[in-house]
Symmetry: none
Subunit: 200 residues, 4 copies
DNA sequence: TATTAATCGAGACGGTACGTCCGGTCTTCCA
DNA sequence: TGGAAGACCGGACGTACCGTCTCGATTAATA
């Protein structure tokens, strides 16, 4: 009667699910999607291939679930210095991007997007959007404070800030340590309150 | 003896190169990088695997060449309207990004970067950097013209413009048609010549 | 405490044993030993694998029991006509041999003999020897009766009678319906009482 | 034009075919049909599973071909002593039957008969019938010689002689060394020329 | 004109991984 | 305790590609 009625039979070992996913994440990080073998995952998780297949339909589903289980850490600094806050956020993002194989997950997501739309969907929900929301929220609050320009296109600004790290990485395989400051310096005139120009 | 000396033996069928690349592009578009098999390419091009390998070192080289051949390397519009030129360039980029499976190869590149560094290297050289150079060159010339702000950080600006498309795609799986204009509007105050502020 | 003490707990469903054997026989007949899977048996018998294993040690034991249950252990005709009795016995044997898949289990037994000596052992005990004993016993009694030759090598005779069916089957995949009579006719001079030859 | 036109492409390594079959026969003999793994065959033959599958459709086909490639040795003694000749033939047969795993092949054939009728067919043609024919031919010649009884049912006699070894093996897993003589002694009165009984 | 060197089609081959099927054992709950 | 249900380990199955190889047939430039 209860909705929690235990299904008949031996229950699945709940630790195994997690063990498989942990192994998947590690291998994915170390060897990339192509280097991800079900067998390696099974062995790393102390189980066997058929058992992995009992829980995940295949390689893609496995990677999907592994990535879906990841999350970005919680909100960072929220001081009254908007510039410092943005720099902090971008530095945090930079560590994620430049971490060894940090872009592998993203790559897998993009490569599999058409085959496994779910993967991209969850990746967006769990990893991409939270960061965007945090930045956008901080920009919003700064606008309300009068620290940033009133008519600012927050989405565009957020996207440029974040995107600049992707693009910089793609251009050279790295992102300089001072990139957050540099980007912010460059963008600043476009987001800071307009100087009271005589033009007005 | 001359450097243009025809090598002995039967010359390669020049149409075959193109046929293989055409087939590659089609399969890449239909099935993505993962679905790209040398055998399928060979069959679609009316030839066989070894012949494909005679010309391309492997799957990555094949895909890279195929995609490189898609990019119009020609300089795009180069009018005296810097804003229009940038919009044109970004629109061109947008079509590449939003094309079906447009990002899947990029995804593979990222996912495999550590396994196949060459792939990433060639991808950067052939696809990423040319576009960056074109944009940067246009910004430079505009600075010289006085159309853009003198001290402008060209690399940062270029990176934000391009990166905004990546980030926008990642956020929602699409890039609105008016995104180029919107981004340029947002960035404009940061790259336009400084108004003569009373500050001075 | 008495040896007939009912063991505690739920008693075994006695019908299940038979249901499992019936299912086994059917699958054995339809798909042969190789096609016999415990799971299929369990499903056909309306039960599950572990339950089957509760009663039968494995595939071999299951098949052995199923086949053993097919053999009518009852003595066959035992009239005072030795020839008729032998023909009856051989006819009975012939139906077992020519039954669809009738020899496939024997084949498995032979093929696996070294891997699963138990299987061969039980096969001999339960299926081969009983028939041999029946025939030998009948020959013995006939010798005592004076219906058959006194010094007759009963084992050799038994073996030839039975073996002729194996060999005939192996030669052509079938055993003619009149084979029992024919064999008996051929062997008769060797087992019948010696005519009073002038030699003596 | 010629019927021996070489098919295009790299020709199959003819030694590999034989190597695979040799390995198959050995494993079949050592471990039986159930212990026969494609992988083991491949490794023993110094190749890989896919290559084995390139030549043989599967396990059954492989075993079929392996067995089909076997033959019984050529005719044995053919003296003017019919009894000695038959004993020689049966002794030869006995070594085949009692050789370690000598019955494994036969078992496989019987077990797979319904799934792979070809296997049984070739086994009969190559292994079973030649021996039968040799014995029958010797019996025939002895009948013509007057060494054996004129009206003798040669097929029945042949079948009993051979079959007695099968049946003896099945009964006890072995065939005594003196079995050929013993069988022949037992059968002799039925195949020897009739004594000139006064009965006639 | 014969030779030589390369291309090209065709397919074999060694590998590696895939996803599936069974066998046999176990764990859990219900009767 | 029996029995249903299903998880689990292990081993093998047959298949798909990859990248390399070995052939024969073709096609030019060279001797």
């Amino acid at each position: 009667m209860s909705s929690t009625a235990r299904p008949a039979g031996r229950p699945r070992d709940p630790e195994l699910d997690e063990g498989i996913l942990v192994a998947t994440r590690q291998i994915l990080a170390e060897r990339g999607y192509r280097g991800l073998t079900i067998d390696a995952v099974a062995r790393a998780a102390g189980t066997t291939r058929p058992t992995v297949y009992l829980r995940f339909a295949g390689k893609e589903a496995l990677a999907t679930s592994a990535i879906a289980g990841m999350t970005v850490d919680d909100p960072l600094s929220d001081t009254d210095d908007i510039r410092a806050d943005l720099v902090a956020e971008l530095r945090h993002f930079r560590t994620a991007v430049t971490r060894p194989h940090g872009m592998s997950f993203l790559g897998t997501v993009l490569a599999e997007e058409h085959l496994t739309p779910d993967l991209a969907k969850r990746f967006r929900e769990r990893l991409v959007l939270p960061r965007r929301r945090r930045i956008a929220a901080r920009l919003d609050s700064a606008i309300r404070d009068g620290t940033l320009r009133p008519g600012l296109d927050v989405e565009a600004a957020t996207t440029m800030l974040i995107g600049s790290l992707y693009a910089r990485y793609l251009a050279g395989g790295e992102v300089p340590a001072d990139w957050p400051e540099r980007i912010l310096d460059s963008l600043w005139p476009a987001i800071a309150p307009e100087p009271k120009t005589p033009k007005g």
